[in-house]
Amino acid sequence: MVVKYRFRLYLLCLAMMLGFLVLVYRLWSLQIDRHDEFVHRVPSAREERARVPGVRGEIRDRNGLVLASNRAAFEVRINLGEMVSEYKRQLPKGGAVPTIEYDATEGGRKVRKKETDVVQIFNETIQKAFNEMGMAKGIDSVDMQVHYRTFAGVVPWVYRDDLTFSEFSRCAEHNLGLPGVSVTERAVRFYPYGSLACHILGYVRLADDQKTTAEERSGWDYFLPDDYGGAGVEKTFNEYLRGKPGVRTMKKNERGRLVGEVSFVEPHKGNDVFLTLDARIQFIAERALREGGVGRGAAVVIDPSSGEILAMASVPSYDPNRFIPSITTEEYASYLNNPANPLFNRAVNGYAPGSTFKIVTSFAGCLADIQSRHFNCAGGVTYGNKFMKCWIAEHGGAHGSLDVSDAIMRSCNSFFYLYGNAAGIDNIAKVGKLLGVGERTGVELGEESSGVLPTPEWLRLNYPRDRWSPGHTANTSIGQGMVLATPLQMASVVATVANAGKAYKPHLLKRVTDGPDVVLENEPTVRADLAKEGIEPKEVEMIRRGMWKVVNAEAGTGKGARIPGIEVAGKTGTAQFWRTVDGVKQKDNHTWFITFAPYKDPKYAVCTLVQGGKSGGGCAAPVARRILEQSLALDNGYEVTVQKMPEAKGSFKFVESVTYADSGGVPEAVASDEEGESAPVREASEERPAPRRSSDAPTIRRKADAAGSQGVSAQQEVPKAVPVRRAGLFRRLFQ
């Protein structure tokens, strides 16, 4: 027994020792042989890269005046992923993370899915803390939930983008201590001159979080996207203006807590963009439109010797500062629902150009070599079964036999019916193409419309039932019917006339600089040289002469544009137009004036459009005169201080005539201007609401919904001072 007992005891003891040996062998293989394999797979302290959005470059006018700069804004962003994980960590034992269900489509089937209810967690933690500070704000719970579903942690969610400085400092003082919340200072757009040139500058919007692509986000642990231009040159030159992002590298310990900053590469400012605009002339133009009581209209000033746009104004206008960083739903709706459409840039939208188009027709005659022929006005011309009247027929009479320059002076319709038909629609189309009518000028504004220069081809495509007739040609010749031209196009036409036939492409970009270095110098490009197309300078001179007579001859229609001491040439235009207001047709003429001055060696080419005016000579011409007079005076010591512009309110009041209080000696406008009553303008030029794409719309501040405004206390104005609790000794020692 004893022996057997001992033997069995030792046997089992040996077995256990063997077990320990196996264990040691196993540990050996794990901790020595496979050490290298495992050591890299262990979560460790890591560095995280956060993208710091770049600062946008400035937009300046040609003289360097800053039209769009940056200001500091304070915002609160929340990393929802971090918020949720910290919530889970602090969850008491047995507590459950709140979840919600939502509908999703998976492989074409509708399924119910479950996910963490971030809104409730947010309300319980962060919202509560902000509430105590009196800084809480309701949130759009659906937006937050979708954001969490899409990004979890990478793109922080914007909670508040409108902190005031005192709120910001209060946040900084309290040091929050809320997981996932970051209060940051950020550069946002600022337009120091308010609504000055708002339609050109456009606005900047926050990046649409949902549209940042996975490629953009890859490589970043935190991705703060750049703002981008939503309209105007902010949008066109976005690539120049956009800043180069900075990198903030932060250290996270093994637990995933941020412990400090490792490095910070500052974001770079984007390139500065110099526009061809002259802020003073822009200011003059906008002031002229406002002071003249123009409810809706536009003015464009071009330097004829280069095609540089010196001013481009459109009323009514908006204040782009209201879009930064986001606009409330109500405010945006008030812009959108305003029938005068203040967001809309009228300078690049097509309107029936009326008699100003006769300049284009005149050039077409030059191409057809009929410029020296006389045509007789007998009060009207019969095409088919329709008698098309000249405006003089209303007053009883006829213009008689005229040559081109006299016809321009008198704006005789009959002459241009005949002249246009003699030149032929093909020549009109050809000249239109050379001058840039009926197609986009290519100005650096995305919102530009092309206008319409109808041809038989165009008619066949757009109105298959109609057939082109001499009546169509006649109507086109006087800028009525289906013709649509933008004020910018007409300014470009008159610049070509001023420049003796050399047409430059109108443009807004002067140069792009990166600090002191010039990145890009924009050279003017010639669109067409009429001399090369067979229109000789003396033929152009004939047309210029006609435009001179319009202003300076007794029988001219644009005497309202006379400036003492300066020779001005121009052409009036009135296109009849009716708006339908509550089912009642109401006269709403588009009145135009295109002009250049001085006659010899022109400096400025101007086009003005007044909607709802009585006549081109009475409404548009005085505005153009005002702009010309003050702009020309700039060279003679006239000082203009560019000031912050309030928004121009639109109106639908009928403008009988435009007069300025301080300008004496303006000849009375010709009472009876030409009116193309023979063919009313079709109503196709109804203004479309801008902007057209949702991605260009400004950032609309999300409204709080029921779930998102839980527990937000009503009083937010007077926050109580909350004493900051001193950290305990232990914390202070080890932090």
Partner: protein, 385 residues
């Protein structure tokens, strides 16, 4: 060595307890609420340590033969507490097995794991049975069937608690004791086979048990599911290397490894103290087994021999199983590492075993030069030399 068995035993135990407290402090700092500044777990464990040391001292000074008189109560009592665990209200379920029972006394939650003590009670009962003079281990009825029935009762009631780990350990212990007692091999083979088939049935019957075995073939593949704990423990071992990351520098305890302070304390040793720490731990347990076996070998009577052997095997097997699980050589089951893991019942049970072993050692018959051991056959009581 044999004369100083108690010294080596207590030395190993002391070192292991020190290791346990160190690792507990290092691990729990991150596991508790509020940053672990209160060292709540550590204080709780210290309380249990005090209780355990008291129990050990008491047992070391009490003649172990006393317990043999009450073997029936030991047997009955062990069975009762095991069954009590199954009654809702007294016992409750943690991690899928109902091996806990608890009560709230004076606002303090007292939770004990009766199976820890039941194993000791079973060993006392079995050893006492075989220590009886009229029990011939080679006989069929008294030598095999009655003790086998006692063992089966324990194993089945632990099995009812869905605690396969403890069930197999108990079966292993019982069979080992019977083996050493000298039961005929044919019966032992029969028992071993039936125990294995019972285990197989348990694996097949209880949910998750089969998968726990299966995932060992490729842990990495299942690291997001059932294999998580063992995979992370492998990472901990592997990343520790020879030197380890040093105390407090371990990463896996940072809420990556569940139960890092209880059943999975060994990987933390591996991560923070490296191979030195783990090999040292293994060595200490080997020392405990060696010392325990010596004590058993020189015990004054058969009851003492069997009890000493049983208790040593209990400590050794628990350690082996726990370390086998954490190194992913055995399927995951909830067994603590004696002396090191956090947990009051386990610590107390281990110290009770040590206390009894020390007492056996004190009564041991040690062979000296020129002196034959005085061992009377079938004696229940041998006078102390």
């Amino acid at each position: 060595m044999a004369r100083r068995s108690s010294f080596f035993l207590l030395l190993s135990v002391t070192l292991l307890v020190i290791l346990g407290f160190t690792m507990l402090a290092s691990t729990c700092y991150f596991m508790e609420k509020g940053g672990g500044e209160g060292y709540f777990n550590l204080r709780k464990q210290a309380f249990w340590f005090g209780v355990s040391v008291a129990a050990m001292l008491g047992l070391a000074w009490t003649d172990y033969n006393l317990w043999a008189k009450y073997w029936k109560y030991a047997f009955g009592g062990g069975l009762v507490v095991l069954v009590l665990c199954l009654i809702p209200g007294i016992g409750f379920e943690v991690n899928g097995s109902r091996r806990w029972m608890g009560a709230s006394i004076g606002g303090i939650d007292l939770r004990v794991q009766p199976s820890e003590f039941a194993k000791i009670l079973l060993l006392v009962a079995l050893s006492a049975w075989y220590g009886m003079p009229d029990v011939d281990p080679r006989s069929t009825r008294k030598g095999f069937f009655i003790p086998a029935a006692m063992l089966a009762a324990f194993v089945l009631s632990i099995g009812m608690e869905e605690d396969l780990g403890n069930g197999s350990l108990t079966a292993l212990l019982g069979i080992s004791v019977m083996f050493v007692a000298g039961v005929r091999m044919r019966w032992l083979v029969l028992m071993g086979t039936s125990a294995l088939s019972l285990l197989a049935a348990g694996i097949a019957y209880f949910p998750n048990r089969f998968e726990r075995v299966w995932i060992l073939s490729d842990l990495e593949k299942y690291k997001d599911g059932l294999g998580l704990q063992q995979w992370i423990s492998l990472l901990a071992f592997g990343s520790g290397g020879i030197e380890g990351r040093h105390l407090g520098e371990g990463r896996m305890k940072l809420s990556y490894l569940p139960e890092a302070h209880t059943d999975f304390i060994f990987p933390m040793v591996g991560e923070e103290l490296g191979l030195w720490g783990t090999a040292g731990t293994v060595l200490l347990f080997a020392l405990i087994v060696a010392a325990g076996m010596c004590i058993a070998a020189y015990a004054p009577n058969r009851y003492g021999k069997l009890l000493g052997f049983g208790l040593t095997t209990l400590l050794g097997c628990e350690a082996l199983l726990n370390m086998g699980v954490t190194t992913a050589m055995l399927p995951n089951k909830g067994l603590p590492l004696p002396f090191v893991s956090y947990g009051g019942s386990s610590l107390l049970a281990a110290f009770i075993a040590v206390g009894i072993l020390v007492n056996i050692h004190r009564q041991g018959v040690h062979i000296t030069r020129g002196q034959l051991p005085v061992i009377r056959r079938n004696s229940r009581w041998t006078p102390q030399i």
